[in-house]
């Protein structure tokens, strides 16, 4: 499923690889967003993701070619967590954000303060949005996450989606110095979380930690 960017040059052993983990409720558009970023296309017919899918693309961050690895996860709760019955009816992915963030923190705390990005997908359906941008912004601020709104569907929004991932790559690059003992192409992970409720009835949420 992964798509390599066309401009990938000869393999360089020194190349750095950043990992981005995309999490969020089912149907928010995680697969579409990562596919759009990696291939430039809107994937019309997605299937529910089972397990974890993988895509990658090379990006140029301040003159350094970096490989971004996107791990596209399944949204269904049982894949992430087994817990008391939690029904999907009337749920809102925006309301689920605290759970996602808690999850991020649980796995990211070891390396301390991994940056996250919050994406409200399906901005083309804005009129159906139940969460207004201000609410989303306040929420993102309170968790020190930049907020982006995007549409994987709209061709004209592609540059915006690139900007989201480039911001992520940039944050990663600046985030912390390499630890000793790491080999040159050390990997860092980021988590990108998506929330669609930002922009429509059943919001889409992505949680990105860089």
């Amino acid at each position: 499923m992964s798509l390599k960017s066309k401009k990938e040059p000869q393999p360089q052993p020194q190349r750095r690889v950043f990992k981005v983990i995309v999490i969020g409720d089912s149907d928010v558009g995680k697969t579409c967003l990562t596919y759009r970023f990696c291939s430039g296309q809107f994937q019309d017919k997605t299937e529910a993701t089972i397990g974890v899918d993988f895509r990658e693309r090379m990006v140029d961050v301040d003159g350094e070619l970096i490989k971004l690895q996107l791990w596209d996860t399944a949204g269904q709760e049982r894949f992430r967590k087994s817990m008391v019955p939690h029904y999907y009816r009337n749920y809102s992915s925006f309301q689920n954000l605290p759970a996602w963030i808690e999850e991020c923190n649980k796995y990211c705390s070891s390396s301390g303060g991994i940056p996250r990005i919050l994406v409200g997908n399906k901005s083309d359906l804005k009129e159906k949005s139940e969460v207004d941008t201000n609410t989303a912004q306040r929420y993102a601020d309170s968790h020190c996450m930049p907020l982006f709104e995007a549409s994987a569907k709209e061709d004209k929004d592609f540059a915006n989606i690139e900007a989201i991932f480039l911001t992520l790559a940039h944050k990663l690059k600046c985030h912390k110095p390499m630890m000793s003992g790491d080999y040159p192409s050390m990997k860092r992970a980021t988590v990108l979380s998506i929330d669609k409720e930002l922009v429509r009835k059943n919001s889409d949420s992505y949680c990105a930690n860089c």
């Binding site: 499923m1 992964s2 690889v17 990992k19 983990i21 089912s26 149907d27 017919k45 997605t46 299937e47 529910a48 993701t49 089972i50 397990g51 974890v52 899918d53 993988f54 990658e56 690895q69 791990w71 996860t73 399944a74 949204g75 269904q76 049982r78 894949f79 992430r80 967590k81 087994s82 817990m83 019955p85 029904y87 999907y88 009816r89 749920y91 999850e103 796995y107 990211c108 070891s110 390396s111 991994i114 990997k187 860092r188 992970a189 988590v191 930690n209």
Partner: protein
């Protein structure tokens, strides 16, 4: 070739018409090359493979009130790619409605079963092959037997079942196992293979149906043995490059998606492996799981193999190998068997014998927890 098919079809019909139905032959015919050949035969044979006698099970009412309804619909709405591209949209819509009802009917009948994304992929195949009426009793049975471990609340059992993969690989290619372990890729790549019975990955619907003939006739761990064969078949490719998790994960993910998957050979080899290394012979860790109450563990290994004897020796002694009377069938280890060299003995040894049972275990697990390597970089 055509005449061979005709002959096989005639055998299937004969087994169906014998009084009582010759279930043993049906299992053998389902496993051997080509499987059950056509949808028409499948809908007649699958009920027998699942031991379903009451094909007119009444569907529960108000299934759309089920709490998982929304998730099911989200997944069903995105299942369009599984229907033939030539099928008119209206027909796909109708089938998708039926699919939602089918899934929810099983969930409403068995409150202990939990829906998972990927279950819908298995149900599609039943709907396409058997239609909505017959699919319900079949999927109901399948869910309480073969799929039960995937449908308990937690995913612990699913992870346990995936854990069989490595010991199976180890039996044939320890070098590959070392490589895979070094890469820290884990077994998560095979999750979608296992819980969708390959519907999520194998591109051709007819191949999926043929695989179902095989799985329905075998021990519920057979899909793991089959996964092992796919991986083994691609060992060179997997080990050709940097031993790094993402690369290995990606290569592994793709291996089952090939359009030219050598299906019959893989099936044959999976069956050989099952005979040579039945679940109870696998590593200590796996055996612990095996004894620990997985529904799958209540399926018995084929009796011959449970005695820990080399299967070919046992089969030879019982005169089973003589059925094709060639020298090689005596001297060749089953692992060298070519898909055209299926013996009746082999299929008999693979086909699951009799009673099936189920046990549910509960617990809590998080995908991220059992794929710690994935987040290990954080």
């Amino acid at each position: 070739m055509q005449s061979k098919r005709k002959l096989k079809a005639a055998h299937i019909v004969e087994a169906l018409q014998s009084e009582p139905v010759d279930i043993h032959s049906l299992r053998k015919l389902s496993i051997s090359p080509g499987g059950l050949l056509s949808r028409k035969l499948r809908c007649q044979v699958w009920p027998h493979l699942l031991d379903v006698t009451d094909t007119h099970l009444k569907c529960p009412k108000n299934v759309r009130m089920h709490p998982e309804c929304r998730q099911v619909q989200l997944d069903v709405n995105r299942s369009g790619g599984r229907f033939p591209s030539t099928m008119p949209k209206e027909e796909v819509d109708i089938l998708q409605e039926q699919l939602t009802d089918l899934i929810l009917s099983v969930l409403c009948t068995h409150s202990e079963l939990n829906y998972y994304q990927g279950y819908h992929d298995i149900c599609v195949t039943f709907l396409l092959v058997c239609g909505k009426q017959l699919s319900f009793p079949l999927v109901e049975r399948l869910s309480t037997y073969h799929l039960r471990d995937f449908m308990v609340r937690s995913m612990d059992s699913t992870a346990d079942i995936l854990n069989y993969l490595i010991p199976i690989l180890e039996k044939s290619n320890p070098e590959l196992v070392k490589y895979i372990e070094k890469s820290e890729v884990g077994t998560l790549f095979a999750l979608s293979w296992l819980i969708t019975w390959y519907s999520y990955v194998v591109p051709k619907q007819e191949d999926i149906e043929r695989l179902y003939d095989f799985f329905l006739s075998c021990h519920p761990l057979m899909p793991v043995y089959f996964a092992a064969q796919i991986v083994l078949d691609n060992a060179d490719n997997i080990m050709d490059g940097e031993c790094e998790m993402a690369r290995v994960y990606q290569v592994l993910l793709q291996t089952a998606r090939k359009t030219d998957l050598p299906l019959e050979t893989l099936i044959s080899k999976a069956a050989d492996f099952y005979i040579q290394f039945p679940p109870s012979s696998l590593s200590v860790t796996a055996i612990d799981y095996y004894k620990d109450g997985l529904a799958m563990s209540t399926f018995c290994d084929y009796a011959l193999v449970a005695q820990h004897e080399l299967p070919d020796a046992v089969l030879r002694r019982r005169g089973l190998y003589s059925s094709d009377r060639t020298e090689s069938s005596v001297n060749t280890r089953p692992s060298n068997a070519d898909s055209t060299h299926w013996s009746a003995a082999k299929t008999a040894a693979v086909a699951v014998g009799g009673a099936v049972g189920a046990a549910a275990i509960a617990g809590a697990v998080n995908l991220l927890e059992w794929a710690p390597h994935l987040l290990g970089y954080l």
